[in-house]
Subunit: 141 residues, 2 copies
DNA sequence: CTCCATGCAAAGTGTTTGCATGCTC
DNA sequence: GAGCATGCAAACACTTTGCATGGAG
């Protein structure tokens, strides 16, 4: 991604509307989330944030992630054996394929699988609130 | 499930064959795992173990779980927002539906979903090593 | 009688929180 | 100015580990 004027929801405006103060740390963190396509963890976000403003603390990163998660602006993923990783909540729902070697995350979506999940839950007498589907795999040579 | 003489793989024999010592704590923990149908966490296993032999320590529970996991005798599940929960590795592979209110776990299996997962991974150039599919839901009244 | 397994306490990891201060609205 | 947000350090929940002792083979 070279262009920066791409999909960039205006979170600042949205947050302000939600009565949330736009502070320097929040602005920095939002800009980081807006520009990445990967799924960084809190420490990685912290590192990138510190590079922009060295006074930002890790607690603020965690607090901001929690805040944004509550607003539905980001999603938190707890992939196996690692810290939570975050992504901006833009676009459609999707699931994840995790490259076990590199940790890279590939997004995918299957309407068929979603339907099957709903059927299964219904048969068991449940309605799904949310689900988690993660494929852990290796690149085929 | 009322009968206790049901599916009960002889883990002691298997462990002995693997060159692993059968100690009192291990015997106790194995008996607990063999008799439960739920998905207890380490602390719950510890509680049940202490009721049988009060000298067992939580570290031993954790160590034993790790050992058994390595041997493929149990599976570890990290459901959302809680400690790892364990289950005996008997029977076929299955996925889990978690009752968000009670924490109860219902097992299910869908061959169709498994196939779709494989197709998706293949298309992305990956082979699946394992996957995680969890449905979080509420009972329909 | 040799090692592996244990209990205990301490350390480790990722995350949250209390508190005094600082900055947005 | 009023009150939310911050940095810092301490607390937290879960899990692992070092070490000296104990017990299975």
């Amino acid at each position: 991604m070279t262009s920066e004027t791409y999909k960039k929801p205006d979170y600042e405006k949205a947050l302000r509307k939600a009565g949330i103060r736009i502070t320097r740390p929040r602005r920095v963190i939002l800009s980081i989330l807006g520009e990445t396509d990967d799924h960084p963890d809190a420490l990685e976000i912290f590192r990138r944030a510190v590079a922009i403003d060295s006074s930002i603390s890790l607690s603020t990163v965690y607090r901001t992630m929690k805040l944004l998660e509550g607003l539905g602006a980001i999603h938190r993923h707890a992939f196996e054996g690692g810290p939570s990783r975050f992504e901006q909540a833009v676009g459609e729902h999707h699931d994840h394929l995790i490259d076990m070697e590199s940790g890279d995350v590939i997004e995918f979506h299957s309407e068929k699988i979603e339907q099957l999940q709903n059927e299964i839950a219904r048969e068991l007498g449940y309605e799904i609130v949310h689900h988690r589907l993660e494929l852990y795999g290796r690149r085929i040579k």
